[in-house]
C-alpha cells in the first residue's frame, strides 16, 4: 500500500527536479521572496524622517522648538529649507515629508498673550508617512509642552518637587502592548510570509495534475488500478513535506535575521503550520484536478494574491471592512492563518483563546483533504472553443 504511494511521490519529485522553474518556485522562490521582503522592512521603524523647520521668529523659544525636533530620533532636519515657499516645493518633490513653521512674532505674541501657533504639516499622500509623522510630532509637541510648562512653573517660584506634583496630577501612562516599538516588521512581515507560502504552496501542487493532463498521461492514472486516495497522497506527499519545511525555514529566518517577534507556544505554531500545510496542499491538488491547464492555474492563482491579502483584515482592520466582505474573507484559509499566527506569535495567546481559529482551520483541512482523497477518477472533456495557447496545453518551442 505504502509502496505505491511512495513510488508516485518519487515520480513527482523527479518532475519537480526536472522542471527548473517549478524547482525554483518550490525550493527557492519562498526563500528569495522572504529575503527580499525582509530587506524591504528590515528598518522596521520610520526614522530620519526628512523635516524642514521654517523658523521665522529666531527667538530663544523658537530655537527650543527646533532643538526638540532635532533631539527626536524620528526626524532628520533638512537645513537648506528656510522659507515657507521652499517648504511647499520640498513637500511637492518629496525632499521633505514634514515641516514645522514658527511664525515671525511667535515669542513676542506668546509673551503678550496674543493668538499665535506653531504649524506642523506632513505628507499624507502616503499614509505610512502620514500616520507615523503625526504620532511622532505629537510626541515631540507633548514633550516640548511639558518642558515649557515646567520652566514656566519654575519661573513662578515652584520647587522641582512641586512642579512634578502639579504636572503629574493626572499622569497618563500610555502603554503599547504586543508591539511597543511600533515595528512594521512585527506588524506586516509575517502576513506577507504567509501569503508567499499560501500562493507558492498552492501553485506548486496545482500544476501537478494539469501537467499530466497536458502530457496526456493523466489518462494512465485514471485507468490504472490505483485508488484515488493513493494518487492524491502520492502526488501531494512531496509538496506536503516541502511546504511544511518552507514554513519552518521562513519562520526561523524571519526570527533570526529580520528580528520578527515570534513568541507563543511552539506546539501551537507547529499545529497551525500543519493545518495550513494540509489546507493549501490539498486545495492546490483539487484546483489541479478540476482546472483544464497549467496556464489558467498560474494566471488566476497569481492574480488572487493581492486581493486575498487585502481582504484578510491583516492591515486595514476588520472593523472598517463591510460585513459582507468580511464574511467572504472568512471563507479563505489565508485570512484565518494570518489572524491565528498573529494571535499566537505576537499576542502569545493560548489554545483556549485561539481555539475557534484552530477549529475552523481543522474543518477546512478536513474538507480539502477529504475532497482530495475522494476525487472522481474521470476525465473532463477538453475545452475546444478557445484559443489553444490560452486554454490548451503548453506549446514548447520547436
Amino acid at each position: 500500500m505504502l509502496r505505491q504511494i511512495l513510488k508516485l511521490a518519487y515520480y513527482e519529485i523527479l518532475h519537480i527536479l526536472k522542471d527548473p522553474i517549478l524547482c525554483l518556485m518550490v525550493f527557492i522562490a519562498p526563500l528569495a521572496y522572504a529575503s527580499l521582503f525582509g530587506a524591504v522592512y528590515v528598518a522596521s521603524v520610520l526614522n530620519d524622517i526628512p523635516l524642514a523647520i521654517v523658523n521665522q521668529d529666531n527667538s530663544e523659544l523658537s530655537r527650543d522648538v527646533v532643538a526638540a525636533y532635532r533631539n527626536d530620533p524620528h526626524f532628520k532636519i533638512i537645513a537648506e529649507i528656510e522659507s515657507y515657499e521652499e517648504l511647499e516645493a520640498g513637500m511637492k518633490t518629496g525632499k521633505v515629508r514634514a515641516g514645522v513653521v514658527i511664525p515671525a512674532d511667535f515669542s513676542q505674541k506668546l509673551s503678550q498673550n496674543g493668538q499665535t501657533e506653531i504649524l506642523t504639516v506632513y505628507d499624507a499622500s502616503n499614509l505610512i508617512w502620514g500616520y507615523n509623522i503625526r504620532k511622532n510630532t505629537l510626541e515631540v509637541v507633548n514633550k516640548f509642552s511639558a518642558d515649557h510648562t515646567a520652566a514656566q512653573l519654575a519661573g513662578a517660584g515652584l520647587s522641582k518637587h512641586e512642579i512634578q506634583n502639579v504636572m503629574n496630577t493626572i499622569d497618563c501612562n500610555i502603554t503599547v502592548w504586543y508591539n511597543p516599538t511600533f515595528s512594521y516588521v512585527n506588524f506586516l512581515f509575517m502576513g506577507l510570509i504567509i501569503m508567499i507560502l499560501h500562493q507558492l504552496g498552492i501553485l506548486g501542487v496545482a500544476l501537478t495534475i494539469t501537467r499530466e493532463k497536458e502530457r496526456n498521461t493523466w489518462l494512465q492514472y485514471l485507468t490504472a488500478a490505483i485508488p484515488a486516495w493513493k494518487i492524491t497522497l502520492g502526488k501531494c506527499l512531496p509538496y506536503l513535506v516541502v511546504n511544511f519545511c518552507n514554513y519552518v525555514l521562513l519562520i526561523w529566518l524571519s526570527s533570526q535575521f529580520v528580528h520578527v517577534k515570534i513568541q507563543g507556544s511552539v506546539f501551537l505554531i507547529i499545529l497551525l503550520g500543519l493545518l495550513f500545510d494540509l489546507i493549501i496542499t490539498f486545495a492546490g491538488f483539487l484546483i489541479s484536478v478540476y482546472t483544464p491547464n497549467s496556464l489558467m492555474v498560474t494566471r488566476y492563482i497569481m492574480l488572487l494574491s493581492v486581493p486575498f491579502f487585502m481582504v484578510s483584515g491583516y492591515t486595514w482592520p476588520h472593523t472598517h471592512i463591510p460585513e459582507l466582505l468580511n464574511g467572504m474573507a472568512r471563507l479563505l484559509p489565508s485570512t484565518w492563518m494570518m489572524e491565528g499566527f498573529r494571535l499566537v506569535t505576537i499576542k502569545n495567546l493560548t489554545m483556549t483563546e485561539v481555539g475557534p481559529i484552530f477549529l475552523i482551520m481543522g474543518l477546512m483541512a478536513f474538507l480539502f483533504t477529504g475532497l482530495s482523497l475522494t476525487f472522481r477518477k474521470q476525465s473532463l472533456p477538453p475545452n475546444t472553443d478557445d484559443l489553444a495557447v490560452n486554454c490548451g496545453s503548453t506549446y514548447p518551442r520547436e
Binding site: 502639579v166 496630577t169 497569481m302 481582504v311
Partner: protein, 362 residues
C-alpha cells in the same frame, strides 16, 4: 485570457472600493475601566468620548476583562481609571491613568497613539491648573503659569487622511499591471510556441512587422483597459487627481510600453507559455511592495534603494503618487518618464537579441 483582461481589473475596482469604503480610520474601538465610579472619573471618561477617532464601545468592570478584550481583538484602546481618582485629584495627589494600545496592527496603533497623545496634553494641563488653584494660586495666575503653546497640524495632499485615496487607485492599477504582464508574456511565445509558427514563418511575413503589429495591439489594448479604470476611479469614486488627465495618460502609456517590454523579455527567454507567465508574475507580484508606494524607499537598505528602480513598477507607482496627489511639474517628472523609456529600450533590445540568437541556433 480575454476574461482576465476584461473582468479582473474591473473586479479589482469593485473589491478595493468596497474594502476601503470606510475611507478614514475613525471610531477606534475603545473600552474604559472605571475603578473609581465617581463624578470626576466620569468627567474624565467624557473627555475620551469626545476624542477624535476614539469610539467608546465598552465600559468594563475589571482590568482582566480589558486584557481579554484586547487579546481577543474586540478592543484596541483601553483606559483604566484608578480607584480614588477623584479624591487624589481633589487633594492634589498624583494619580496614574493607564492607557493601553493594542500595537499588533499598526494602522490602528499609530492612530490610537496620536488620539491619546492629544487627549493627555489637554487633560494634564487642566489637572495641573486645578492643582495650582487648589494650592492657593489665583485661576488667572495658574492659567498664565500653564499657558500652553498652540500647535496646529495640517495633513497636506490628503487632508482627511483618507485611506481609500491613498491605496485604492494603486491597488487597482497593481492588478491591472499584473494582467498586462500576463498578456504581454504571450507576445513572443504565443506565436513561436505554437505549431502555426511554422506557417507564419513560411508565409514570409516580416518578423519586425509582425512584432510591431502584435506589440501595438497589446499596448492599445492595455490602454483601453485602463480607461474605464480611470473613469471609475476619478469620476465615480472621486479619487484625487492633481495633474492634467492627459499627462497621466501619457505617463500610463510609457508604463504600458515598459511593462510590455518586460513581458516580451520573459516571453522570449523561456520555452513555453506557462513559464513565461510564471516568470512575469514572479516579477510583477513583489514589485508593488518594492515600489515604495506603501513602505517608503527611503526606509529600505541603501543597496535595495538603488535596485528597486530596475522595476518599471517603481517608476510608475512613485510617479503616480506624485501626479495624483502633488503634480510637481513636468521637469520633476522627467526622470520618471526617462526611467520607463530606458527600461523599455533595454528589455526590447534583449528580447530581440534573444530571438535572433534562437533563430541562429535553428
Amino acid at each position: 485570457m480575454r476574461n482576465v483582461m476584461l473582468f479582473v481589473p474591473l473586479l479589482g475596482v469593485l473589491l478595493f472600493a468596497w474594502l476601503y469604503s470606510a475611507q478614514s480610520l475613525n471610531a477606534i474601538p475603545t473600552a474604559i475601566v472605571d475603578l473609581d465610579h465617581s463624578r470626576g472619573s466620569r468627567e474624565f471618561a467624557d473627555k475620551l468620548t469626545g476624542a477624535e477617532k476614539l469610539n467608546i464601545t465598552a465600559y468594563l468592570s475589571t482590568y482582566q476583562e480589558l486584557q481579554e478584550a484586547i487579546a481577543g481583538g474586540r478592543i484596541v484602546v483601553g483606559v483604566v481609571i484608578p480607584k480614588n481618582f477623584e479624591q487624589d485629584v481633589a487633594l492634589g495627589r498624583q494619580t496614574r491613568v493607564l492607557m493601553i494600545i493594542d500595537g499588533s496592527n499598526m494602522v490602528y496603533a499609530t492612530n490610537a497613539s496620536a488620539a491619546l497623545l492629544e487627549v493627555t496634553r489637554t487633560v494634564s494641563a487642566e489637572a495641573g491648573i486645578r492643582t495650582l488653584v487648589g494650592s492657593g494660586m489665583q485661576l488667572d495666575q495658574a492659567r498664565e503659569a500653564y499657558k500652553p503653546i498652540a500647535f496646529r497640524e495640517e495633513a497636506w495632499f490628503n487632508p482627511t487622511m483618507n485611506y481609500a485615496y491613498f491605496l485604492v487607485l494603486a491597488l487597482i492599477l497593481n492588478i491591472w499591471q499584473q494582467c498586462c504582464t500576463l498578456a504581454s508574456a504571450m507576445n513572443v511565445i504565443g506565436e513561436t510556441g505554437m505549431k502555426s509558427w511554422l506557417q507564419i514563418k513560411a508565409s514570409g511575413v516580416s518578423m519586425t512587422r509582425l512584432f510591431i503589429s502584435k506589440s501595438m495591439t497589446h499596448i492599445i489594448t492595455f490602454m483601453l483597459m485602463v480607461l474605464p479604470l480611470y473613469f471609475l476611479a476619478f469620476r465615480v469614486l472621486k479619487l484625487p487627481l492633481q495633474c492634467n488627465f492627459g499627462v497621466l495618460m501619457f505617463f500610463t502609456l510609457l508604463f504600458v510600453i515598459a511593462i510590455h517590454s518586460v513581458g516580451t523579455l520573459m516571453s522570449s527567454a523561456v520555452s513555453n507559455a506557462v513559464d513565461a507567465s510564471r516568470l512575469g508574475m514572479m516579477i510583477a507580484l513583489p514589485s508593488f511592495v518594492l515600489s515604495g508606494y506603501t513602505w517608503p524607499i527611503d526606509a529600505m537598505p541603501p543597496l535595495l534603494q538603488s535596485l528597486v528602480w530596475i522595476f518599471p513598477q517603481t517608476w510608475f507607482f512613485q510617479g503616480l503618487n506624485y501626479l495624483t496627489f502633488k503634480n510637481p511639474g513636468g521637469d520633476f517628472m522627467l526622470p520618471f518618464y526617462a526611467g520607463l523609456i530606458v527600461t523599455a529600450a533595454v528589455c526590447y533590445a534583449i528580447s530581440i537579441m534573444l530571438q535572433m540568437w534562437r533563430e541562429k541556433l535553428q
